[in-house]
């Protein structure tokens, strides 16, 4: 098994799927000649030509609109939005068209579309380049939403997403493209609807996805030194949300933390916490704690930006408080 960066794992998934199925094609801003803003599409235009790797104008609504039309006509487009912040311009296409078409036409038309886009901040890119909006898409019936946090999952879920007949929001994170991990060669498929325990523990359950998996892991290591055993459940499948591993874990630990990079109010953690209360009410020894970003447009200032996003210390302090150890 090779050790690859997240960006190379994604690149490998795209290349393998394009080789496997000639209806798969890519479109987006600067993904061709420039290899993509984060180099995920490196070398693909050279290998597959300009008909299958399209540089588009800076017009997100057009990118998604074009991709929907192509998908309805039998192709399998993989559209890149340079960051998730820019997809807001295309929100109408995503919600009113992509998500609804299969229902509106009574199943007579399907939209096998993947929208790849990174969220996340931490690089001083300011309020319009640093947010995480996966909870919005997870609220929309008709979409599937995934947010892998390891290179292996990224490859396996992207391949599954491309083969899926429904529109899939494939949420990446700017802060994870360079992380490395083991990636199985060749045919490696990870289902879009299965969450996964990434670390075993007994005292507290930490639910996290995407870059927050890294933060959760750092926190779990520190907690371990303090005699607290944390279990990490990866919420890589956000819609449909696979709650089974969460509930099973909470029944064991009796304590839960939700951790996300986006704003806390009305976020992923709200849904997950509500479900924990609904399904494991009698097992909880303390309320579910939710950790998210400060509720402001992301600051540009470096120090302010650092405090705005959740970090290891937030998780450690919260876990200790839940267990009555502060």
């Amino acid at each position: 098994m090779a050790v690859l960066t997240m960006r190379d794992a994604l690149n490998q998934a795209l290349r393998e799927e394009m080789n496997r199925d000639e209806t798969v094609f890519l479109l987006g801003e600067d993904i061709g000649l420039y290899d993509g803003s984060f180099k995920v599409t490196r070398g693909l235009m050279k290998e597959f030509g300009e008909k299958r790797v399209l540089d588009t104008p800076i017009a997100e609504e057009v990118i998604i609109g074009t991709a929907i039309g192509a998908a309805m006509s039998g192709l399998r487009p993989v559209a890149e939005m340079m960051t998730v912040n820019f997809i807001l311009v295309a929100m109408d296409q995503v919600v009113n068209a992509a998500a609804h078409i299969r229902y509106m036409f009574g199943g007579g038309s399907k939209v096998p579309l993947v929208i790849r886009t990174p969220g996340g901040g931490g690089h001083q890119l300011g309020a319009q380049h640093s947010h995480s909006h996966e909870n919005w898409f997870a609220h929309v019936p008709g979409l599937k939403v995934v947010a892998p946090g390891t290179p292996g999952d990224a490859k396996g879920m992207l391949k599954s997403a491309i083969r899926d007949d429904n529109p899939v929001m494939f949420i990446e994170n700017e802060g994870t493209y360079a992380i490395k991990g083991e990636v199985p060669d060749g045919e490696h498929l990870v289902p879009l609807d299965k969450n996964d325990v990434k670390r075993q523990g007994d005292d507290v359950t930490i639910c996290a996805h995407s870059r927050m998996l890294i933060v959760a892991t750092e926190a779990a290591k520190e907690l371990e030194q303090q005699g607290i055993s944390a279990e990490i459940v990866d919420l890589r499948a956000l819609r449909p949300l696979d709650m089974a591993p969460v509930i099973e874990s909470v029944k064991k630990t009796g304590h839960a933390i939700t951790l996300e990079e986006g704003w806390r109010s009305y976020g992923v953690g709200a849904e997950v916490a509500s479900r924990i209360y609904e399904e494991a009410f009698d097992y909880l020894d303390a309320p579910v704690a939710r950790i998210g970003a400060a509720e402001v447009p992301t600051p540009y200032n470096k120090r302010l930006e650092r405090i705005a996003f959740p970090g290891k210390a937030d998780v450690v302090v919260t876990a200790r408080a839940l267990l009555g150890k502060n």
Partner: protein, 323 residues
């Protein structure tokens, strides 16, 4: 006192805002000579002229974009988005610009975006949506929705007078709900919920169109000897958690009701907050009664999709039987 519909109350509130402040402007699709598809702006162009009440092209992104510019120049724009489902083309303007201006540049941005929302009117697709959770989640926006004519008048006055952007969701299925009131009615502050009906056994938390549904459920429950307290949130962001918690500390049980799909919806935040802050007094999990996890269905099936009094009462029964 006279019997006033919510439509009339909003129309009067807009008229009074135009009279009070010459900087107030109203614009949107068909709001001028037609008076709006729901007649909410009826007569306003005639009274205040085409410079202050005007029709725009069918271009929601532009409607909100010019609102930003006008607000920066000292006006108080009150744009209308004709239907809930049409707000998506303006999403970037609202989230990336309207919501962020004060934090990025330190200037106020007094815009009130009126949006008729919700279903139950037999409409076609894209005309019955409840997109409130997206905007409540967006830092930098205030989000309110009235359930009664008096609150509609008062909340809209507060929204237009506010120096921050407010998304004002109007429950279109309740436009013709009546209330005995005098206009102008009292101001309603943003950020305050109200108890619509006092009760002791289960707190039913609703907003906009579902407040009336919750009250219907409470009247039915009373006949069976069950006492429901109905809370009208009125303000979704900021959220009046105190009023909600005070009620739950009394009843020990809660049901949240909204029309939007349950998954990832506004009810998740309410349920999570109640469960967190009132953990030790809850006798049952907080129940969420909401729209189903499908795109809003064709009109023929919308009764099956929408939360009704029966579904609220089932959740109430389950909460009372829990344990």
């Amino acid at each position: 006192m006279s019997s006033v519909t919510m439509a009339k109350a909003i129309n009067t509130s807009l008229r009074d805002a135009l009279r009070k402040n010459p900087k107030t402007l109203i614009f949107g699709e068909d709001v001028g000579p037609l008076g709006g598809v729901f007649r909410i702006t009826d007569g306003l162009q005639k009274e205040f002229g085409e410079d202050r009440v005007f029709d725009t092209p069918l271009a929601e992104s532009a409607i909100i974009g010019i609102s930003v510019g006008l607000a920066l120049k000292g006006f108080r724009p009150v744009p209308e988005i004709q239907f809930d489902g049409f707000i998506y083309p303006a999403f970037d303007q609202i989230v990336s610009h309207v919501a962020k201006y004060r934090n990025r540049s330190g200037v106020p941005l007094p815009i009130t975006i009126r949006v008729p929302f919700g279903g139950n009117i037999g409409a076609v697709e894209h005309h019955s949506e409840s997109p409130e959770a997206y905007f409540a989640h967006t830092a930098g926006l205030k989000v309110v929705t009235p359930a009664t004519p008096g609150d509609a008048y008062g909340l809209l006055q507060s929204a237009i007078e506010d120096d921050d952007p407010v998304v004002f969701f109007e429950p279109k299925s309740r436009y013709y709900l009546k209330e005995e009131i005098d206009l102008p009615s009292a101001a309603v502050p943003i950020g305050k919920a109200k108890i619509s009906r006092e009760g002791s056994q289960v707190s039913v938390i609703a907003y906009g169109p579902t407040v009336e549904t919750a009250l219907q459920a409470a009247r039915s429950a009373e006949q069976e000897g069950i006492s429901l307290e109905v809370i009208d949130l009125r303000s979704l962001s900021p959220l009046d958690t105190e009023t909600v918690l005070a009620s739950v500390r009394k009843t020990h049980r809660a049901v949240v009701v909204h029309e939007a799909p349950v998954f990832g919806g506004f009810g998740a935040e309410i349920a999570a907050r109640i469960s967190h802050d009132a953990f030790d007094v809850l006798e049952a999990p907080v129940a969420r009664v909401a729209g189903l996890n499908i795109p809003y269905p064709p009109a023929r099936f919308e009764k099956l999709y929408l939360p009704d009094a029966d579904r609220i009462l089932q959740a109430v029964d389950a909460a009372l039987a829990y344990g």
